[in-house]
Amino acid sequence: MPDQDVLLTASGIGKRFNALAVLSDVDFAVHDREAIGIVGPNGAGKTTLLNVLSGALAADAGRIVFRGDDVSRLDAAERCRRGIARSHQIPRPFAGMTVFENLLVGARTGAGEHGEAAYRRCIESLELCGMLPLANRRAETLGLLDRKRLELARALATDPVLLLLDEIGGGLTDAEAAELVGIIRVIYGRGIAVVWIEHIVHVLVQVVGRMVCMDAGRVIADGTPDAVLQDAAVIDAYLGSAHAHPDS
């Protein structure tokens, strides 16, 4: 793809937790309006990569360029204001606030909107994620599935250009997963690029046009979902074990 289509480039990303190298020399690019799935065994560094891209963790090495600007040294709040939003694998709701107020924080700070415009964005995000009936519920009273949907709705309320999703579909029934695929397709259809970490490969391939497989802190395959899923290294590192444990 031509360079002007590049939304985000991460090059030479390294991250260590003490002696453990969690990410080593990772190169990763996201293009405009692209949906990318990230797969890989547990401990491959997928969530760490997402944390580094969103600014929750600072990388030890490498450079991240988003829409032409070097954002490597910006914190999570500044990156969100520039259009990078994320959901958390283990939901982190604002427990003492209502569902609507959870979104309003993001609409006001992340999207930088005021008054009615901010309200409208929140209502619209809630509606898209099927959460409008829960708008006035305190977030601490939600069950796990609704907390996961709240993660998605809240990220959406920040008006992202790039949405980073971390295992938003884990633990869903087939019907719920189908609903989630529908929601993410709508988001993607609006021109928002999506990077989605997910173990449920058959759900992932319904949305993404490109797949990246990680293992031991490195990218071991990057291409169309078909090509990646047939890659010998991917089968060896990931799918082999997934086949042995169908539920993982």
């Binding site: 958390h88 427990a95 606030m97 924080v105 006001r108 209502i123 009936p133 829960l134 006035n136």
Partner: protein, 332 residues
């Protein structure tokens, strides 16, 4: 579609306005003793509300707010000594301490949880020692707000009362506006989950700074007002951790993280002090036990409990989305 004021909260606001009008004519009506006691009550309300702003909304639990209480009184003594008219010096003292809280916050707000709580206590002890170094204070012997000697007792009583009432209204009003606005939602998000707040664009440090400075300024004004009503300044009495203990009592009993709770807590504290204050140590033991029992069995506090049980919402600091009937949970 999004509601902030309800009929009930409008009625409540009207009742508050009426009560303030009654309180404003207080010194003309009340006995001198009552006026003095109400002045103390206003100071308690300020203290409870400020600790609640910090801990209940900002998640910043401090056991060192007496630092600002003491510094506020000290600054008023110094300003008055330098020739600033005595009542304006109370407000200027609070503003100066608020300014001082800016650089202090740069350091303290980098600490988390227990480190911040204890760190603030250390700051209070440090402030106490530094104030004792000032020759004007005479060490622990202390000094007094001599400028007030020029004012007759009744005028002094009334002016201090009005200053405390005005200070309380301004500070609670500022807190109310802050909580209703963008900062309020951001502050609560940080309280609930700092990392998640940053992930949706909340500038964590800058937001905490606003609350920290407001609470410092408020506690400083409370200290300066206390000085105006007590006249004497003994560092040990003002920098005592018991002030923070009172603030915690009022907030826990009334309801942490609710706007109205600490006001209710301050009134209760005031009543308990008025009735049992003469029992000395046993009064303090009882106070501590009550706070403990509340923390264990009524963690939401009196107001927080009532708010949840009866869906009370007197002052509209939150948001309510009016849903079409068909979208109500359970409505189909």
């Amino acid at each position: 579609m999004v509601l902030r004021w309800t009929g009930r909260s409008a009625a409540f606001a009207t009742a508050i306005a009426a009560a303030l009008v009654v309180l404003a004519v207080g010194p003309f009506v009340f006995a001198p003793g009552v006026t003095d006691r109400l002045t103390a009550l206003f100071v308690y309300v300020i203290l409870g509300a400020m600790w609640n702003a910090l801990a209940g909304y900002g998640g910043l639990v401090s056991v060192g707010q007496q630092a600002f209480f003491g510094l506020g009184a000290f600054a008023a003594i110094r300003l008055s000594h330098a020739g600033v008219p005595v009542y304006p010096s109370l407000a200027v003292a609070a503003l100066l301490v608020g300014l001082l809280a800016l650089p202090l916050g740069e350091v303290m707000l980098r600490l988390r949880g227990g480190e911040f709580a204890i760190g603030m206590w250390v700051v209070a002890e440090l402030a106490h020692l530094l104030v004792n170094l000032d020759p004007l204070i005479n060490g622990e012997t202390g000094t007094s707000l001599i400028a007030l000697n020029a004012v007759t007792a009744p005028a002094r009583r009334a002016d201090t009362y009005w200053s405390a009432l005005g200070g309380m209204v301004v500070l609670l009003g500022a807190m109310f506006l802050m909580l209703r606005g963008r900062v309020g939602a951001s502050v609560q998000a940080i309280r609930d989950d700092e990392q998640a707040a940053a992930s949706v664009g909340v500038r964590v440090l800058a937001t905490k700074r606003v609350v920290f400075v407001l609470a410092a300024l408020g506690c400083a004004l409370a200290g300066a007002l206390w000085l105006a009503s007590a006249i004497t300044f003994q560092p040990r009495a003002y920098f005592s951790v018991q002030w923070t203990a009172y603030m915690i009592f009022m907030t826990l009993v009334g309801g942490l993280g609710t706007f109205e709770g600490p006001v209710l807590g301050a009134v209760l504290f005031f009543v308990v002090e008025t009735v049992f204050g003469a029992y000395g140590v046993w009064y303090l033991v009882g106070l501590g036990a009550a706070a403990l029992l509340f923390a264990l069995f009524v963690p939401a506090g009196l107001w927080g409990n009532a708010e949840r049980r009866y869906a009370l919402r007197m002052l509209p600091v939150g948001y309510h989305v009016a849903l079409p009937a068909s979208r109500q949970p359970g409505g189909g």
